[in-house]
Point group: none
Chain length 194, copies 4
DNA sequence: TATGAATGAGCCTTCATTCAT
DNA sequence: GATGAATGAAGGCTCATTCAT
């Protein structure tokens, strides 16, 4: 019988790819470097992906879906927008704490005109934002002029922006603590009420 | 008599560079294409910049400073945060309307870990945000827990995010109108008050 | 008890290899594709051949020998050159009709400087041509200045060229019929007489 | 002013490309090797051709047209098929004597299913063959059943086949002399008469 | 015996940069 | 000052081949 696929191998490649894209940008992350760092042959990833782009797109979609999954879960469990927002933002911070590269990866590619996420993901996000809106409209937590778009920007992009500003050390203040998290959550919740 | 340097030449190169970076990404924007489109020799830009990266960094700084300049001007003229925010956001929308590529350029490179803007620019932005804060603290337009960082995110990043979400057609709604602008301005002003 | 080797397996590989070489050229016919199409593991053929080249060379020799076998048979059975030529050419046409790929394969590799057939095959062909010459000299069907080389070119290469010119649709006329076959045979026989 | 294009450089590349294709086949002739042998940078040829294929196709067409040009010239000057054939075959031999690689190149690529010559060239050749036919029909040098296709095979392919058989040392007899040339010419002329 | 996961040399191509003119 | 011919390192990718199972 032939050798069994070493699952950890491709995992290593994926992790390294995320690292390199974050560090050097999509263009700067070469297959050769990724493979070497992952301890894998250059041609290895082509057994699983058609090419570099397919790999990165897949990683991006996974990351987006990971957050969407969490949001979906929270929407099932919580019946107040405040809780949903609070827990989602904490989840995002948690990702940033455990895997800073993952949140940086998301940050970098979300803003790259060459890596739009798929229509399916976009529609899913839209629906989830609408659900938040519905809950908030009923509970009075969301103002009548707040759109799904606003919700997306506040609940998803805003925390990611904050985290990356901190990682980039943009205003000199490194990292973050619980106070920062609560601060961000409060701003979001208040703004939604507007 | 020495020939006068054709000032417009380098301008053409810069404009084309912005266009190409937006269209094809940093990696995809080749010097050869830029030079050809600008009607300039391939080697031309090396008389002014060390290389491609230096050129792009310079363009990014210019763009950032352009907005900072506007903000500085508004701070001199206005004595209410509401006016500053309103006029600045309108200015950003204006740039997006007259030169969509410029706002896309800013959007793309602001979020690229390979293109951090210089310390000087960052400090300048920080000071301007502090000035907004001071005005707002006095006039009661800015809540006591709002930081310079929050102001930066709300006043600068938020509108740029909105515009690009629309350009990307993220939620299906193309472009924007005055109602959208007022909507964004209102959200920002209300959030600052929080 | 040892398992019996599945003879048809290697046969399938060989047939597929011929197909792929014809379709994509030697370089374009990848072992992976051949193996997959033949329903065999990629590493399978290495139990029988040193590598891709050896396989293809072997196939070429087989094909050459197949025609030589036929010629040998005809020489035993016929005592007129006209019959030998007629039947051999018809045989070649028959191969082209039943297995167009085989005749294309022969055509392509016969003319590739990287795939000379072995000395043994060449000598065999030479001897067969000499035999034709001998018969023709005695029967008056072959002119005194016609060499073995001429015979080879007329009797073997000429029909193969004709067939491939037609397959390639070189002069717009697709395929061939019995009239074409008789036409080619007649030209060959008349030329030999010269 | 910028440097002037060194015309001989591209000539060297072309010549080397022909050599390498003959020696190693199209697939085996790598750009790196060609460039190195031609004393030129690897990227050089991409200033003139889109890629390897375009280069080789161009070389093939040039070679085909060179022979077509000669044939056209001969048709203007001669009024007997015998003369046309004799001079054309001698021309082909001459090419083989001066540039053996060129005739080998033609031989190899004419028989490669991946390198069909353009429609324009094919039609041109067809017309030239028809012209030969017309002349021969009038002068009685060409039999009534001989087609343009036959003429093409006899006048063009036949000599090229002969030359390459000799170069390949197929029947042990190296090279050729004037007697060989006359022999081939005679066969062709006699066959056409049939 | 047969498999097919894994390799890595080598392919074609691009393009930022240099420098003779 | 300005040009653009020429470079060659580096990129993404393919695929014949190997070998643990």
């Amino acid at each position: 019988m032939a050798r069994i696929i070493d699952i950890s191998k491709m995992e290593r490649v994926k992790e390294t790819a995320i690292q390199m894209v974050v560090e050097k940008g999509y263009g700067g992350a070469s297959i050769a470097t990724i493979a070497k760092k992952a301890g894998v042959a250059e041609g290895y990833l082509y057994r699983f992906y058609k090419g570099k782009e397919e790999l990165v797109v897949d990683l991006l979609c996974n990351k987006v879906n990971e957050i969407a999954d969490e949001l979906e879960l929270l929407l099932q469990r919580c019946n107040r927008v405040a809780d949903v927002v609070s827990l989602l933002v904490k989840k995002i911070f948690q990702i940033a704490e455990n895997n800073p590269d993952h949140i940086k990866f998301l940050y970098v590619l979300m803003h790259d005109y060459n890596f739009k996420i798929g229509d399916r993901e976009r529609e899913r996000i839209f629906k989830l934002c609408r659900e938040i809106k519905n809950i908030g409209s009923n509970s009075g937590e969301i103002g009548e002029f707040i759109t799904e778009e606003d919700i997306y920007m506040l609940v998803n992009i805003f925390p990611i922006q904050f985290i990356n500003l901190r990682i980039k050390n943009f205003f000199g203040n490194k990292s973050w603590d619980n106070t920062d998290k609560e601060h961000i959550i409060e701003i979001i919740i208040k703004t939604l009420k507007a």
